[in-house]
Amino acid sequence: MRTCSRNSLLTAAAATLLVSSGCKPVRIETPGADTEAAGKIRATLVSASSGGGETAAASTGTGWGTLKGRFVFAGTPGAPKALLADKDTEVCSKGGMKLLDRSLLVDGSTKGLANVVVFARKTSRVKEPPSSTPLVFDQKQCEFLAPVFAARVGQPIDVKNSDPIGHNTNISGSDFNQLIPAGGGTTYVPKAETGMPTMVTCNVHPWMKAYMVFRKDGYVAVSAADGSFAIPDLPAGEPLEFQVWHERSAGPNGALGLEKPDLKWTPKGRFTLTLAPDEVKDIGTLEVPASALGT
């Protein structure tokens, strides 16, 4: 009897063990999605189509103003690294000259921080249509001459190649990746805004790198060698939100976040202000701490 009870106990244990293992009726929908919320959204989506389209910002003011300022780098920029330029050396490193990393250009004397992009995010009106006189985007000695290049949508750009060797210019996220024959060139007319600046490369010489930013309204400026920038002819009398970008900044998508409470400067690298007609608003010297850049 004793043996029998023990035996049945043993088998029962085995059975329960087998049954319990791997037997959980789990039925999950898409993980992380809220199913009934999705149901509601779908209801609104399938509902009758709305006129929609882009809602242009309301035009509230008249006249035009100018925004200017100057970026300086608060910190010590290390010596720029030399780029690995191992192809076509007879051209790319002529006379042993080295191509340098240009992602952080600080003016020695003025401490000015070059190549900071400032543009207005949304505007209601523009002073004049894009000019048809082409801008020039040139490359020489395996380097794009302009590290950061701003243009207005609709304005033609002459992409040139002043080198004795062939290049190609590849504007990522655009429809443009063209052969640029030695000494030749082609014209590109940007069709769409880039949002944040987009990278330009030459696939033949992978170290070649630049950035381009296209804006519909053309309200965009790139800080000069001394760090100064100016955006003229901005629509006055309405709140304007500006976006600030730098290649090296630690913020999301290169947004340059600064501690500027007076301008309501956000971590997304934006500040807002309203210009009076014919005002030349100088937001003064903007100190960019080393921590703001991914140095």
Binding site: T3, C4, N7, L10, T11, A14
Partner: protein, 600 residues
């Protein structure tokens, strides 16, 4: 029950001689050098792997029957994919199924478990010739267990180039996920199994030649021992080739030696830097071992079945010497037929003709054995014990397995059925319906000797019936699948118009396979339950003749409590003029001799 009374002095001597061995638990049960413990260690490990291999087979069958459908239990591994099995996972499944079944189950359970347990007992020795080697031969299995088991969890997963691991699929790391770490581990595991078998076979040969009890001449050895002996020889001669080949493949994979890869062979846009090798070289080397291995996987079972048949037919083995010669013949011919695995491989067709002839000839000794088994059953007094049923089914199924081999041996027919389910049916009839049945027969037959208790006969027969039924349901249908040309190793064959209509048949086979595995639960419970609560068995529950039945059940350390002396062959059943229907090999010759004299 024949209880052999022995001079008490001898008994005491033995007890004294072996007293010091009663050491710590570790040295008694884990690192024991006692052939019986080692045998049981082999038995338990291989049975566990048998279960694993069976489950792998089920997963394979599931995919074959219902490709890409939600796999039960396993499906949880592929939750994001909706429970659908990835094709490379399927290739890993059948590769590891074959690997586990061949290298971790059949070979070790025959040579390792039964060989170890039975050889000393049946020849009247108190242990193996080299107990330490014997222990090592078991513990070398563990690296193999670990290597094969671990390979599922390395990057890329387990080996996926089939158990034959043909180059360049296996040598070229880029050719398949499993050809990465999985394949390397596979080769390492294989080598370990090889070492283990080699240690075993050296041991068996020495033991059988040198340690037979007084009076036990070679031609008084039971068939089991003969089979084990010849198997050991086969292994000793064939294994070095495989080991060498394995190391060559390892070198190909790790050092880029390129023994097996031709020049400029591009896989997955990855061009092999080395070349100058020949993929066929591996096939020759591999099959030079693996064809004899086929006989390593069946001969011991044949031997055990012969003994069991005689015991329960209560009749001498029909044609003892022809049986021995045919085993030897199979072993000899086994070395010159490997090419019949390569008829379609691009090997010189003229060479194919040669191998075809030798292959036809190797069917001969098998036929002789079959006829002798029939002769043994003829005119006996058959007792339908579980062991006997399994042994009989071995004979019945081996006939099928043997005959289906002739189709493949006929080269022109092989053109059509090569690598189809016909061959799958063939080797499952030899290895599962044959060897596995023989193994079960052996377990039911020698269980009393192993644990001193008999297994439950009723559930044993239920187990036999279900296994026999489902097994034929699964494997016999494979023949007709093969006749359609249904190729093996296809994750989904139903998009071929030729095979589209075979899905229902495959589904049926898969259900049978599931039933087959499920019914092993009966065996498992019966096995472990009987181990503790089965009825106590005496020394000789089956009234058999061979020496092991004169020892206590289970035999103590040193096996025999007296020195067995052999007076006759192992199969003296139903001798006219003898009151009991069996004459044990140790029975003193006096009365029996007279009776025998009268008989002849």
């Amino acid at each position: 029950m024949s209880t052999v009374t022995s001079p008490s002095t001898v008994h005491h001597e033995h007890a004294a001689a072996h007293a010091p061995h009663q050491a710590s638990f570790l040295s008694t049960y884990v690192f024991s050098k006692d052939h019986k413990v080692i045998g049981l260690q082999f038995l338990f490990s291989t049975l566990v792997w048998f279960l694993i291999g069976g489950l792998l087979a089920l997963a394979v069958r599931w995919q074959v029957a219902w490709p890409w459908s939600d796999v039960p239990v396993l499906g949880k591994l592929f939750a994001q994919e909706g429970g659908q099995m990835a094709p490379e996972f399927y290739t890993m499944l059948f590769t590891m199924h074959a690997t586990v079944m061949i290298f971790l189950v059949i070979i070790p359970i025959l040579a390792g478990a039964f060989g170890n347990f039975l050889i000393p007992l049946m020849i009247g020795a108190d242990d193996m010739a080299f107990p330490t080697l014997n222990m090592l031969s078991y513990w070398f299995m563990w690296p193999a267990f670990i290597a094969f088991g671990a390979s599922f969890f390395v990057e890329g997963g387990a080996a996926s180039s089939g158990w034959t691991s043909y180059p360049t699929l296996s040598t070229n790391i880029a050719s398949s996920p499993g050809s990465g770490w999985g394949q390397t581990l596979w080769l390492l595991g294989l080598t370990m199994v090889g070492v283990s078998s080699m240690l075993g076979s050296v041991n068996y040969m020495t033991t059988i030649i040198l340690m037979r009890a007084p009076g036990m001449t070679m031609f008084r050895l039971p068939m089991t021992i003969w089979a084990m002996f010849i198997t050991a020889i086969l292994q000793a001669f064939a294994l070095p080739v495989l080991t060498a080949a394995g190391f060559m493949q390892l070198a190909d994979r790790t050092l880029g030696t390129g023994f097996f890869s031709p020049e400029g062979n591009i896989v997955n846009n990855w061009m092999q830097s080395t070349g100058g090798g020949q993929p066929l070289l591996w096939q020759h080397l591999f099959w030079f071992y693996s064809h004899p291995a086929v006989y390593i996987m069946i001969l011991p079972a044949m031997g055990m079945v012969s003994d069991i048949l005689t015991t329960f037919a209560r009749k001498p083995l029909f044609g003892y010497r022809p049986m021995v010669y045919s085993v030897a013949g199979i072993a000899g011919l086994g070395f010159i037929v490997w090419g019949h695995h390569m008829f379609m491989s691009g090997m010189n067709p003229a060479l194919g003709v040669t191998f075809m002839v030798s292959t036809m000839m190797i069917a001969l000794p098998s036929a002789v054995k079959t006829f002798n088994w029939l002769g043994t059953v003829w005119g006996g007094r058959i007792q339908f014990t579980t062991a006997m049923l399994f042994a009989l089914s071995f004979v019945s199924m081996f006939i099928i397995g043997g005959l289906s081999g002739i189709f493949m041996a006929a080269t022109p027919v092989d053109i059509f059925i090569h690598d189809t389910y016909f061959i799958v049916a063939h080797f499952h009839y030899v290895l599962f319906a044959g060897t596995a049945m023989g193994v079960w027969a052996g377990i039911y037959y020698w269980f009393p000797k192993m644990f001193g208790r008999t297994m439950n006969e009723f559930w044993g027969k239920v187990h036999f019936f279900l296994t026999f039924l489902f097994m034929n349901g699964t494997f016999f249908t494979m023949h007709i699948l093969g006749a359609v040309g249904f190729p093996r190793r296809l994750a989904d064959a139903y998009h071929y118009e030729t095979f589209h209509h075979l899905q229902p048949l495959n589904a049926f086979m898969t259900w049978c396979a599931i039933g087959m595995v499920a019914s092993q639960a009966i065996f498992a419970v019966n096995f472990f339950w009987s181990m503790f609560f089965g009825p106590i068995a005496g020394r000789n529950p089956w009234n058999a003749n061979t020496l092991e039945w004169t020892a206590p059940s289970p035999p103590g350390h040193g096996n025999f409590d007296f020195q067995p002396v052999v007076h006759r062959g192992p199969y003296e059943y139903s001798v006219p003029g003898v009151e009991k229907d069996h004459l044990m090999q140790t029975d003193p010759p006096n009365a029996a001799a007279a009776a025998l004299a009268a008989a002849h």
